[in-house]
C-alpha cells in the first residue's frame, strides 16, 4: 500500500507541476468510460445517502410481522426481512451510515495525518523518527484484528467504530504527507522562499500544503470503499454498529441467518457494497491515471 502511496504522490506532484485544474480533470474524465461509470455510481450512492430520509418508501425501522420474509415484489422492491422491515428502505438508509462512516472518518484521519505528516516532514530527525515509529507500529497490525480487539475492549458503537477507522487510516496519510513534505522541503523554491524571509508556518501552509492536497484527496476517494467494507465487515461480525441501525453489514449478517428461506436479503446487503466499492475505485483510479503526465500524452 505504501508503494501505491508514493506512486500517487509522485504522479500528483507531477500533475500539479503541470498546472492541472479541477475543470480540466472533469473534461478529461468525460473521455474515460470506466471513470465516468465510477462517477455515476458514486453520485447514485451519494444521492441515496443524502436523501435517504426522504426517498425511503417505508420506515426502515418499522417492524411489521404479518409481512415478514416476503420475496421482492413491486410493494417491497427487495423484499422484507424476518421481522417484516422493508429491505429496500434499509439499504437506502444503510448508504447514509456507510457514507457517514466512510467520509467522516477519512476526513478526520486525513486531517490528523496531514498535521502529523507536516510535523514529521519539517521537524528535527528525532521527532520524525518517533512519529514514523508510531505510524509503522499501527501499520503492522492486521486491520480486522486491530478492529476486533478495540471494539471488544471499548464495546461496539458508532463512535468506537470510527475511532478504529481513524487509527487504522491515519498512518497511511501521515506517511504520504511526510514524504511529500520532505520532497518539497528540498526543492529550490522553498529555499528561495526562505531566502525572502518566509517562516516555517508560512512555508508549510502556503507552499507545501497546496502541493500535497491533490494526492491526499485522490487517495481519500480510493480509501472510502475499504473503510465502508471494514465497517460492514465489523458489523457483520457483531463488532460494529449495534442494531437496529441498518448498516449493510447488519443486513448481510441478518440475511446470512435466513439464507435458506430468504436468499434475497444477503443479495440486497451485498449489492450496494459492490456498487460503492466499484464506484469509488473506478473514480479514484480514473483520477489517478488522469493526473499521470505519461499517460496523459498517450491519450
Amino acid at each position: 500500500m505504501s508503494a501505491q502511496l508514493s506512486e500517487i504522490a509522485v504522479r500528483a506532484t507531477a500533475a500539479s507541476e503541470a498546472g492541472i485544474s479541477g475543470g480540466w480533470l472533469l473534461r478529461r474524465l468525460r473521455s474515460d468510460p470506466l471513470g465516468l461509470l465510477g462517477l455515476s455510481l458514486v453520485l447514485i450512492v451519494v444521492f441515496c445517502g443524502l436523501f435517504a430520509d426522504w426517498i425511503t418508501p417505508y420506515d426502515p425501522f418499522k417492524i411489521n410481522v404479518p409481512d415478514r420474509v416476503m420475496p421482492p415484489s413491486l410493494a417491497h422492491l427487495l423484499g422484507t426481512d424476518k421481522v417484516g422491515r422493508d429491505i429496500f428502505s434499509r439499504v437506502l438508509k444503510g448508504s447514509q451510515i456507510a457514507l457517514f462512516v466512510g467520509v467522516t472518518s477519512i476526513v478526520i484521519s486525513q486531517l490528523i495525518g496531514l498535521t502529523l505528516g507536516l510535523i514529521a516532514g519539517y521537524a528535527p530527525r528525532w521527532l520524525d523518527n518517533f512519529l514514523l515509529l508510531i505510524f509503522d507500529s499501527i501499520y503492522s497490525f492486521p486491520t480486522v484484528m486491530l478492529g476486533l480487539t478495540v471494539m471488544t475492549l471499548l464495546g461496539p458503537s458508532l463512535q468506537t467504530l470510527m475511532f478504529v477507522v481513524v487509527v487504522i487510516q491515519t498512518p497511511g496519510y501521515g506517511r504520504l504527507v511526510r514524504t511529500a513534505t520532505l520532497a518539497k522541503m528540498n526543492s529550490e523554491y522553498i529555499l528561495a522562499e526562505r531566502s525572502l524571509g518566509a517562516g516555517a508556518i508560512r512555508i508549510l501552509a502556503r507552499h507545501v500544503l497546496p502541493n500535497i492536497i491533490g494526492p491526499l484527496f485522490i487517495l481519500g476517494s480510493m480509501d472510502i470503499p475499504s473503510v465502508i467494507t471494514l465497517e460492514a465487515g465489523l458489523t457483520y461480525l457483531g463488532m460494529g454498529i449495534p442494531p437496529p441501525a441498518p448498516s449493510w453489514g447488519r443486513i448481510l449478517s441478518e440475511g446470512y441467518d435466513a439464507i435458506r428461506e430468504a436468499p434475497w436479503i444477503v443479495v440486497a446487503g451485498g449489492i450496494p457494497l459492490i456498487i460503492t466499492t466499484l464506484g469509488f475505485t473506478f473514480l479514484g483510479e480514473a483520477l489517478r491515471d488522469l493526473i499521470d503526465p505519461k499517460l496523459r500524452k498517450v491519450v
Binding site: E188, Y189, L196, G197
Partner: protein
Amino acid sequence: MAADCVLSVRDLSVDFLSPRGPIHALRRVSLDVPRGSIVGIVGESGSGKSTLSLAAIGLLANNAVVRGGQVLFDGADVLAMNQPQLRDLRGRRMSMVFQDPMTSLNPVLSVGTQMLDIQYRDRALGAADKRRKAAAALRRVGIPDAEQRLDRYPHEFSGGMRQRIAIAMGLLGNPELLIADEPTTALDVTLEAQIIHLLRELRREFKGSILFISHNLGLIAELCDHVVILYAGEVVEQGTVRDIFHRPRHPYTEALLVCDPARIDEVRRELPTIPGDVPNLLEMPAACVFAPRCPKAFDRCRTERPLDHAIGGTQSARCHLATA
C-alpha cells in the same frame, strides 16, 4: 576595503558532515562587499561558491557546520542570529536569486499569489496596494503587461521570464544586498545577456549591492567591480576587475584566464585546460591548495601554506610568488 561594507565575511570556515568524515567546503574565507558595488565570486564547481552565498543569508544545509569566522551584515553577525532575526533580514535587507528559474518558483501558485504573499510583513498595505507593488516590481524587471501576468502560473513563463520574476521577487523588499547564485547558468546565451543587462540597470536604480556568483569570467568582467577567485574552498586571489583581468598574480587566476574560451584568439584543436583535479576536500594538505596543479610550484609551495599578500592596496593573492 573595510570602510563601508554591506557584507563582510571574516575567516569563515564551513565543513559538511559526511559519512566519510567532514568535508572542508570553505576554509578561512574573507571578503568584503562595499556598499553600492557588485562583487563577483568565480570558482569551479565544488569550490564553495554556493556554500558561501548560502552562509551569507543563513541558509546553510543541516549537515553544514560553521567551524569559525563571521559573516557580518551591516556589522551584525548573521551566523549568530536567531530565526526571527534572520527572517527579519531576509527579503527586506538581503535576498537571493537562485540558479535554476525552472525550480525556484512554486509551480502550484500563481506568480501574483507568491509575490503578494511575500509582502506579508507590510501589514499596513492592503491587497490592492500589494498587487500594485508586485506589478511595479515586474515592470521594473522588464515584464510587459505586468498586471495581467500576475495571475499566470510559473509554467506559463519562459526560463528568462521566470528568472526576471525571481529577481523581481528578490527586489520587492528593496534589499541592501542581492545575492545572485549563478542566475544565468540555466539560461541560454541571449537570455544571459539580457539578465546581465537587467542587473546592471537595476544596480543603478536600486542603489544596493550585488554579490554575483558565476563560473563565467566574461560575465564577471562585464558586470562586477570586484572579483574574488575561489579555489577548493579558499580565496586564492581578490581585487578589482582591472587587477584580476590585467594583472593576475595567482597562478590559478592566470590559468583560468588562459582557459576562458572567450579570450582565446588562436585557433587550436584542443582547448587549454588546467591539468589535474580539484583536491579532495576531505583531507586538505598543509601546503598551498593549488600546488599539485600549479605550473610555477616550487619546493616551498609543497611544504608551507602561503599567506595573503596585499598588492597595491586593492589586490591580494595567496601565493608565495606574489610577495614582490
